[in-house]
């Protein structure tokens, strides 16, 4: 069965897009990532104009994050106080990101910059997570219990001012690194059309030492608010949010997210991180390959929009 999309202006197969939404939603629920870094390239691959893919993607990520976030909230896995700090930073970062997007479009290198950012962030984050999770899995294998987190451990993070008590995360740390992480993720959300969970999750785990279970719910909390703002901005400035396409992806995504949360609860933190790392690296390699391989078609066409 086909349906015609009013903004993308194309006819698509309903089952295919429902399935895509479901698959991305599953990963979203399982890892706490918005899934934008998978969804946006997938939509473009299916022939959706890239601007519409980015705009509509933000609406889908919003819905799937709400669904995933609620499920995490019920499991008491959301540190709302930390989430609010992240949101505050996120809004500032998004404003800066939007300004940079305009400059990059003017000089015609927006796509290149986005691809390079993907490769850089996905590569670094995926690589680090892969090494760390393999190490943890190896150490855990002989059956000994993992060494408990040392509460007295201090790093440079603990020397910063504006200390706050984050009860849910069992942390008493400065709000500055959390706000910076939020800002950086908001910046990326505007620039790359992603939720930013794949950077936020590891940053919170490794820099802030937030427990893995809390990280996922809290990062979804931040993504919900940043994506709501992004969806509104995309609809107003670029008119690239296709509600019909988004609803198709959302219906699939909401189902997938619930299944993902259930599946994620059965896996250990380090196993989850290993799987996410593998996925992130795959996407990184794919995008990196496109940058260096001789393209079949060296020309590309686009509408005037976004050039001048």
């Amino acid at each position: 069965m086909n349906i015609y999309l009013p903004i993308a202006e194309m006819s698509v197969n309903v089952a295919v897009f429902l399935g895509m939404g479901c698959a991305v939603g599953f990963l979203s629920g399982m890892f706490g990532v918005g899934g934008g870094f998978l969804l946006t390239p997938l939509l473009i691959f299916m022939g959706v104009p890239s601007a519409v893919a980015v705009g509509t993607g933000s609406m889908q990520i919003l819905a799937s994050s709400v669904a995933g976030g609620i499920a995490q909230y019920r499991r008491k896995n959301v540190d709302i106080k930390m989430g609010l700090v992240l949101v505050g930073g996120g809004v500032v970062g998004a404003v800066i990101g939007v300004a940079l997007v305009r400059i990059l479009r003017q000089i015609g290198q927006f796509d290149l910059f986005v691809s390079l950012s993907y490769v850089l962030f996905l590569g670094a984050v995926g690589g680090l997570m892969l090494i760390e999770s393999i190490g943890t899995i190896r150490r855990a294998r002989p059956g000994q219990p993992l060494p408990a987190r040392k509460t007295g451990q201090h790093s440079w993070v603990h020397g910063l001012p504006f200390k706050m008590r984050f009860n849910r995360s069992k942390l008493y740390i400065s709000a500055v690194p959390a706000a910076l992480i939020g800002a950086f993720v908001g910046f990326m959300a505007a620039l790359m059309g992603v939720g930013g969970g794949f950077v936020m999750v590891p940053a919170m785990i490794y820099l802030l030492r937030v427990p893995t279970s809390i990280v996922i719910g809290t990062s979804l909390f931040q993504i919900v608010f940043v994506m709501a703002a992004t969806t509104l901005l995309q609809a107003m400035q670029n008119k690239t949010v296709d509600v019909v396409l988004a609803l198709l992806l959302i219906v699939g995504g909401v189902v997938g997210a619930q299944l993902g949360v259930i599946a994620g609860a059965r896996l250990k933190g380090e196993q989850l991180r290993f799987l996410l790392a593998a996925l992130v690296l795959l996407v990184c390699l794919r995008i990196g390959w496109e940058l260096i391989a001789r393209p079949e078609e060296i020309y590309s066409i686009g509408p005037l929009l976004g050039v001048s």
Binding site: N2, S11, Q109, D111, A246, V251, A257, R294
Partner: protein, 309 residues
């Protein structure tokens, strides 16, 4: 020939029919003096064509000129509606030749008919990548101020057998002759050769998207002496907007007559409501999009709480 390129379509049609009239008055001096606007040269005519041209030749001496052929055409659907179920549409372009002199059993291309269906022109930016230190980067670009969003062509024979490049160019028939004017504001001066590469890329990429189409070999077929028909398939991703269907009647590499029909391609029903809403009141549309997403997320998680709790 290059000078003709700048002519407007309307002017061309006037010129073509004018030429046809003059021809008739000059008592069928067809094959030889027929070079209106200087465009098509006799040497462009394939020698094969001279065969079927023999029958009228004896009438050359007769004083009364035969009536001039004229093509009349129409499309089956004047208005195509783009609704939720739209997956493309086939339009039938049909017509007749007035005063057809085609022999009854005519199958050997006495006349040729070409049908071109074109979408609204819009500006297109073409970018070219090149290898910069191992990474493929967009290094040059050309802005074409006006490129047809859609272009479908159907003809009785491959167009290069119907007429010479001059005539095709003047009438924008065939991919190679689509009007594409680079914007005057190109920053990097490109050679004619480089520009041709950019033009070819537009055509190639548009064909890949099924937006530039050549209908199969017998795209236009004759029924009897004067009736012809042709089907043009609009794909599901055809850009919404008015279409123009141009029908040309050819004889010996010359346009005898031409006809223009218009097809409306419009959004209808819910498609129209949503599209208009998104463009007329983007803030409200955005707010509703956010609300829909949140409600869908909440509904989904509530639905699943009952099942899993």
């Amino acid at each position: 020939m290059a000078g003709n390129r700048t002519r407007m379509i309307g002017v061309r049609f006037a010129a073509a029919s004018c030429a046809a009239l003059m021809l008739a008055q000059s008592a069928l001096a067809q094959g030889l003096q027929k070079a209106p606007a200087g465009a098509p040269l006799q040497r462009n005519l394939p020698p094969v064509l001279m065969g079927p041209r023999q029958p009228p030749a004896p009438t050359l001496a007769e004083p009364r000129p035969p009536p001039v052929e004229k093509v009349e055409a129409d499309v089956s659907t004047r208005s195509v509606e783009v609704t939720t179920g739209f997956t493309g549409h086939e339009i039938l372009v049909f017509g007749a030749i007035d005063h057809s002199q085609q022999p009854d059993d005519a199958t050997d291309n006495y006349y040729d008919v070409v049908v071109v269906v074109e979408g609204t022109p819009y500006p297109v930016v073409v970018r070219r990548k090149s290898d910069v230190a191992g990474v493929w980067i967009n290094t040059s670009s050309v802005l074409f101020a006006s490129v047809p969003s859609f272009y479908a062509i159907a003809s009785t024979r491959p167009i290069d057998q119907i007429a010479g490049p001059g005539v095709l160019e003047v009438n924008s028939i065939g991919f190679a002759h689509i009007k594409m004017t680079p914007s005057p504001g190109i920053r990097w001066k490109l050679s004619e050769y480089e520009l041709a590469g950019f033009k070819a890329a537009v055509i190639r990429l548009k064909q890949k998207e099924h937006l530039y189409i050549v209908e199969s070999k017998d795209g236009v077929t004759f029924t009897g002496r004067s009736l012809f028909r042709s089907t043009i398939s609009l794909p599901g991703n055809v850009p919404v907007g008015p279409l123009v269907a141009r029908t040309y009647l050819f004889r010996n590499g010359e346009v005898l007559s031409a006809h223009i029909a218009r097809v409306k391609l419009e959004r209808k029903g819910i498609e129209r409501v949503l599209h208009d809403f998104a463009f007329r009141d983007p803030f409200a549309y955005g707010v509703i999009a956010v609300m829909l997403a949140v409600i869908a997320g909440l509904a989904g998680s509530m639905m699943f709480r009952r099942e899993t709790a």
